[in-house]
Structure formats: C-alpha cells, structure tokens
C-alpha cells in the first residue's frame, strides 16, 4: 500500500519550516549576482560596437569555423557520451562486481580534475608519440591536433553528466516492465530498445544536453590537444580568449553572445522535448 504523503502546509498556509522570505531572497540574490548580471553584461558589452561591426566580427571566417568546430565536436562528443554513458550507468546499476564502488567514484574524476591537467595528459597520450596516439598513427590516423582530439577531450569532460543523469532513473526502473516484455515473447534486444530505452530517454536527453553544453564551453582540456590550427582546430572559446588577449573586449563579447544564444536555443529545445516526455511518467 502506498503511504499518503502528508502535506507540509496546514490550512492557513503556514509552513512547518519558516523562512520562505529569507531563503527566497538569498536565492534571488545568488541568481542575480552569479548568473543574470554576468549574462546581461555580455549583452551590454557587446552593444558597445555597432551592429555592422558585430556582424562583421561574428561572421568572419575564423569565428564561423570556430563555431563549427565547437558545436560539431561537442555534438559528436555528447553522442558518444550518450552511448557509453548509458552502458557505464547500466553496468554500475545492474551488476555486482568487485571494485564497483571505486569505479563509481571514478566517474566524477573529470569534474574534480583541473581541466588543464586533463588537457596535458590527454595530449601526451594521444599525440603521435604517446601510447595510444602512436598506435593510431601507424594506421594513418592522427588524433592530437585534429578535431578527433577535440572530440575526445570533450568526451572526457562530459561523461559524468550522462552517467549521473541516467543512473538514478535506471535504479528506480521497475523490473516488471522488462518482465512484462519478456512474457509477451520479446527478445532482449527488443525489450531494451522498445521498453527500457524509452523509459531512460528523458534522462539520457538531459545528460546529452549537459554534456553538449559543457563541450561547447570547454576550454582548458581542449586547447592543448586541439593544437589551435586556424580554420581547422580553433574552438570558439579559444577565439574569445585570443580577442581578450588583444584587448578587443567588444569583439570577444560579440563572439560570446552568439555562442550564448545558440546554446540557449539548443538547451531550450532539449528541455522542451524532455518536458514533453515527462507527461508520460505519471502512470
């Protein structure tokens, strides 16, 4: 029997734990100081240059290729993370094996590690002299200083998002769904793709979105392995840094603004799809 949830509010609307005013105030202040004002300042800063200059900056060949590199690599990295993050989460939830706790803890390592450290070690590993890079070099694939390298760095920083989004949903997923599919004669493949995957899809999408956003914004771990060849492996955040180093603050914010808007639209799309999917979860 399900226990009925007792509402915290009583008839007069008095909450058991007081302090709504204070906590709401703190929340708004935090949101304002750390998110809204910095974001708004990008708009203000970018508006210092004329619209024509703005268009010129953001449509220059170098900047356009920067966007392309950032978004395409982040997309593929998020896709890779979607597949492998799902498998990782699956293994961590469904199987018992020695060292499971350690493996589970290691998922967070990309969060904890300074990104520059990750960047250096990835470059070391994947350059044509490195352990993995040398092997691929023999079959004619170079990883470091190409977009493949950028994607690998983005996979590295994005994997925790997918695993940590999918894991709790998978833990809660009732085995009855799988058993029901089995009793209806379904094979394991069909059960996975038709029954389990739709259940995990909203969480997977959320993880994908976060990994993608992180990939687009990632700087530290990517710049080393990217090699920053103009029109080839220059990511958008690097172009922002370059402009800043040249004291071209308005140009830098112009690039940032476009990055922000594209990311915002993509996240909006992903989140809307997720909300649409959530309406099924009541049953």
């Amino acid at each position: 029997m399900e226990q009925q949830i007792v509402k915290v509010k009583n008839k007069k609307g008095v909450r058991v734990i007081p302090g709504f005013g204070l906590s709401m105030g703190v929340t708004l202040a935090m949101l304002g100081c750390f998110i809204l004002i910095p974001l708004a300042s990008i708009f203000i800063s970018a508006s210092k240059i004329s619209f024509q200059e703005f268009v010129e900056v953001v449509t220059s060949k170098q900047v356009m290729s920067g966007y392309l590199v950032s978004f395409s690599c982040a997309f593929f990295a998020a896709l890779v993370n979607g597949v492998f993050g799902l498998i990782l989460a699956w293994v961590l939830v469904r199987y018992e094996f020695p060292g499971k706790r350690i493996m589970d803890g290691m998922i967070e390592l990309p969060f904890a590690l300074p990104t520059a450290v990750a960047g250096i070690s990835l470059t070391f590993l994947y350059s044509d002299q490195g352990w993995i890079g040398a092997a691929f070099d023999k079959i004619g694939i170079s990883i470091a200083y190409t977009r493949i390298g950028i994607t690998i760095a983005m996979v590295f920083v994005g994997i925790p998002f997918v695993v940590r989004s999918v894991q709790p949903v998978l833990e809660k997923l009732d085995r009855q769904y799988e058993e029901a599919a089995m009793m209806l004669g379904a094979s394991r493949m069909r059960t996975f793709f038709k029954v389990i995957l739709p259940e995990l899809f909203p969480a997977l999408l959320a993880g994908f979105g976060l990994a993608f956003a992180r990939g687009v914004g990632e700087y530290g771990s990517v710049v080393f392995i990217a090699g920053n060849i103009p029109f080839e492996t220059q990511i958008a955040p690097l172009l922002i840094m370059t402009k800043l180093e040249q004291y071209k603050y308005s140009d830098a914010t112009a690039i940032a603004l476009v990055l922000l808007i594209i990311s915002f639209i993509l996240m909006l799309l992903i989140n809307s799809l997720q909300i649409y999917m959530q309406k099924f979860s009541k049953a």
Binding site: D174, Q176, Y177, E179, A180, A181, M182, M183, L184, G185, A186, S187, R190, K194, V195, P198, E199, M277, K279, F280, S281, K282, A283
Partner: protein, 243 residues
C-alpha cells in the same frame, strides 16, 4: 494435467520459498494460489512463468518439461500486480506488443487489437496512454495485452490488489466471466480468501512454502484438511465479519 509442478524446491538466500511443491491443473480450469503474504505463492507463479528458476523439481506445461525454456518461449500470458503497462505506448500499442514480436502483419495486428479492445469494452480508448486510464481500465488493458499473443496459460499476480474495494468486486466478476468466455487455463495469486473462493474452481492453499490443501472452494470451506487451513479460513471470515 495441463500444468504440473513436480516436487519443486526453491530457496532465496537461505529462505525456503518453495518446499517440495507439487500440484496439477486441468486444461480450462481457473486455479487460485491462496495464502498469507510471504507464503511463497508469487514465487510459484514466477517459476511457472520462467521469471525465476526452481532449484529442483520439474515444471510441465502441456506435457513438456519447460524448466530450461526461457519465459519468452513458454507461451504464457502474465498479468502483473501493478500491470506494468508500457508508459510510452498507447493502449493499442501495448496490446499489440506481443503480436509485433510474433512478426504479424500490420493489418493482422490492427484486427486483433480491435477485437481485444472490444472484448474489454474499451473500443474508443485505443489511442490513450496508460496515465490517462483508471485503475480498472489499466487492469483490463493488462489482461488484453496478456491474451493478445494467444497464450495457452494465463497467470495473474494479485490481479485486484491495486484496485479500490468498491470496483474490486465488479472487476472480479468481469474477469471471471471473461476468462470463462475465452476458455483459457489460468492461475492467479491472492491473499484474499473470498476472492479465491468466488473466482476459482480450484483452490491451492499455501503456507510457508508448502501446499496445505488442494481442492474446490467447497472442499476447502467445509472439509479443511489441516489446522492451518481451518484457521486461515476462520480468521479471514472473522476479520470480514468485523468490518
């Protein structure tokens, strides 16, 4: 005997869930596995379905030993306690799931789904999603879904447990009539004595993993063979009288 369990034993982490269980059910019968919670009745059902494996003993269905046959090859329909309807599929897709597995043509599936929707009197609700249905409707869909692939045996795990008392009696009669109409051999698990006596024509009473008595509802009521059965029936009656 259409379904037969021969000397089945099963332990979970040292807990004896089934202790030398043997029984048989004739084709077309409606049997109830009745017992207090934790008596091991659901385990028996799950072993029949192939969702759990017995440690020893034989499970025979239609003359074949099915111990090593996975659940998806046994041709059994299973109605789960919480129905386990697929949330991201419409009612029609839920019912059609088992037919799609059988690689039936689209037209064939559509025809069969419509036939089943009619059987459960939900002709107009095929396009709904499970979260848009009432508890009773969900149960009817679960029933139709289990029947769709044409199983030889229907298993139901506490089919009325999740339904409120008012609708339960109505649904119980509906299910009994429906199973009678389809003529399928069925076994259901329940802890409710009245439910077992009203719906089943064969009652199997289980306690602590052992079978206490097998018989028709009349035999169980008027000629309890063990003290436990007499006690169980008595307390049930008493508690119902007290309501």
């Amino acid at each position: 005997m259409y379904v037969e369990m021969k000397d089945i034993c099963k332990t979970f982490d040292g807990f004896q869930a089934s202790d030398h269980v043997s029984f048989g059910i004739e084709k077309g019968q409606m049997a109830a596995l009745l017992g207090p919670s934790g008596s091991g009745k659901t385990t028996i059902l799950r072993m029949l379905a192939g969702l759990d494996r017995p440690d020893s003993g034989d499970i025979m269905i239609n003359g074949f030993r099915v111990n090593d046959l996975p659940g998806n090859k046994r041709g059994i329909g299973f109605v789960f306690q919480n129905y386990a309807l697929f949330r991201y599929m419409t009612v029609a897709d839920n019912i059609g799931f088992g037919l799609e597995v059988q690689k039936k043509s689209k037209a064939e599936i559509k025809e069969r789904v419509e036939e089943l929707l009619e059987l459960i009197s939900m002709e107009d609700l095929g396009k709904r999603y499970p979260h848009q249905l009432s508890g009773g409707q969900k149960q009817r869909v679960a029933f139709a879904r289990a029947l769709a692939p044409g199983p030889g045996l229907l298993l139901l795990d506490e089919p009325f447990a999740a339904i409120d008392a008012k609708v339960r009696r109505e649904l119980r009669n509906w299910l009994r009539d429906m199973i009678g109409r389809v003529g399928i051999t069925s076994i259901f698990v329940t802890h409710d004595q009245e439910e077992a006596m009203e719906v089943a024509n064969q009652v199997i009473i289980i306690n602590q993993g052992k079978i206490e008595q097998i018989g028709t509802p009349e035999e169980i009521c008027f000629h309890p063979k063990t003290e436990f059965v007499a006690d169980f029936i008595e307390t049930e009656r008493f508690s119902q009288g007290g309501k």
